[in-house]
Point group: C3
Chain length 261, copies 3
């Protein structure tokens, strides 16, 4: 058995579940077959890990595909993670998240309360999704992207149809609250989408867009902090909490990456 | 007892619950009194069926009214279905749906994760609600309607007031992500509401509206598939997955209906 | 022990929990240490009261701070109330609410299904939040405010940053569905924010604003009931359900307050 496994009351663990060291599974959780949980993982109450896919309801010979939860992850209560999801180390979630099958999540990413990831998507490293973000199938979210509350990434250009064309969000881009990104759109690196925007066209690198429909407004480099008057974006130079450059700043970190040290 | 009833661990079944054949009630569910469940129904973990109405909290003689779940239905985990809800056969839900009292749902309808149906509403057959759709009281949604993520159907023209005037959505209409439909509005048959629209006026049959506030843009018949150049709407001629015309197409199906064959 | 405590099946009660008289804790609830629950409180299934704060995951000596739930409160199922939350008497919630730490809520307030209160905020008395309202940290919501579905109160002027500047909503103000209020904005007393508005500037007392971005439209006093032609706002003179002036009307109640009777 695994070392220091802490099981709450009334936990249901199905066959073929593997636990690393120091795992906590809180009261009233269900862990389905073929789930692999890394070291030092915390799973909150009323959560389901390895939820069977739609095939389970129609195939009597269904076997649950493997689900992986990386080490040092915190999954808060009432969450649902489907079978055939792969989550990297140091993942952290709010409550009541839903992650559907064939979602790949990198390391150090955080996903807020009520987020709904609809599957077949890729989420990079150090991504931040705030509360109730909805990620349609076939989305591709690169490293260091921030998406704020109630944003929807769509994927069907003429609903209802059989065409699924997901959204791509490139590195360091920021999408503010309540915006809707239309199918097949690419949001450029370091771009900023203002709140409650309807984004129908690709957003160039470092561009600010806003409005319904969204229009190009200018460069992110022209946005100033209202108090200090300092340039805010690209945000990697002004924000570091929880980022790999937290100790020394982005420039030093980037240099150390390049030099391989 | 009912044939082939599969109860998970720690299931709470109150008095006067009736099960059809081959029903599965997953771990940690609560089934309140006077619930009637059809054949081949699946109920996911942490769900509540027959949740007592508001009267329960003030009437010591409260008796739970009857709740009906049609045969061949799948209700996914963490869902709440109130007492005095009637759901037809072949219903399917995502996770964490809430259906309040006096909601009537037809057959073959599907309701996505986080949907909140606030009661006293009618939902037809083959309706599709995607994730987190909010249906205010006194809404009337006809057959074959599609409503996409984060749409809200409102009902109070001068909030807060005691007036409740629900929205009507006619057959085959489509409402895209994030739109808000104001009280008393009727969306016409085969109409299309674009994403993130604020709809304050009735939408004529086959009309496209979009914007904040929404304006009439043209006929749905003018929308082309970007790849094939073909006409997309009315969608019943171009889309059939899960529809009763899936085998032979809409025209044949309609003819067979009319001829009574 | 407390008088007439009704515990459902499989309830987990940690140490140092105090119950008033006539409390009901429904099946499958978790009550964490140091929770104080008043008289006549009802807690629905699958709820967590006193959820440990983020410090719990990093501090081995963590002790749960005190959580208070006022008397005569109803907390519906699947809800999560964090440690160090204080809720006044006659609170009522829908299902699946999340209230994060350091939220103070007055008396007689109601919070709808799926609301997400992100902590460090103040909510007054007789406040009404409908479904899925998201209240960012450092929000300040005064007495008698109504906020409708899917509204977001934001707090970061240049996301991501370390600046948190919450929204203030003054007494009797109304915010309609789907609106987003930008950081540091103050909504004036008796003001009305139309549906799906993006509010970037302060809203004066009794002003109507609407649109994306929101513009000033006129006085709330000019809005008429479409049926009766009567003036609707300020709503305290036309609406009384559940309000302290329910019996005699606002004017009499206000006079009685002033005379201290």
């Amino acid at each position: 058995m695994s070392k220091n496994l802490k099981l709450g009351t009334n936990v249901v663990i199905h066959e073929g579940v593997s636990f690393g060291e120091n795992v906590t599974v809180s009261d009233f959780c269900v862990i389905h077959p073929n789930v692999v949980i890394g070291d030092n993982v915390f799973i909150g109450n009323f959560s389901i890990i390895g939820e069977p896919t739609a095939e389970y309801y129609r195939n009597p010979d269904y076997k649950n595909p493997q689900t992986k939860i990386g080490s040092h992850s915190i999954i808060r209560s009432h969450s649902i993670i489907y079978a055939d999801v792969q989550i990297g180390n140091y993942f952290e979630s709010g409550h009541r998240i839903t992650i559907r099958t064939k979602t790949l999540i990198g390391e150090h990413s955080k996903i807020g309360t009520l987020c709904d990831l609809q599957g077949e998507s890729q989420i990079g490293n150090y991504v931040r999704l705030h509360g109730h973000v909805e990620i349609g199938e076939k989305s591709n979210i690169k490293d260091f992207v921030w998406i704020f509350s109630s944003v929807v990434l769509t994927n069907d250009p003429t609903p209802p149809s059989n065409i699924i064309q997901g959204v791509t969000v490139n590195k360091f881009a920021v999408i503010a609250c309540g915006s809707i990104i239309m199918p097949r759109v690419t949001i450029g690196e370091d771009a900023l989408v203002g709140a409650l925007s309807l984004v129908r066209n690709d957003v160039p690198k470092e561009m600010v867009v806003a409005g319904n429909p969204a229009k190009e407004i200018g460069s992110v480099r022209d946005i100033k902090n209202k108090f200090t008057g300092e340039q805010v974006y690209p945000w990697r130079y002004t924000f570091k909490r929880g980022m790999p450059w937290e100790a020394d700043g982005y420039e030093k970190w980037e240099k150390s990456l390049k030099s391989g040290s």
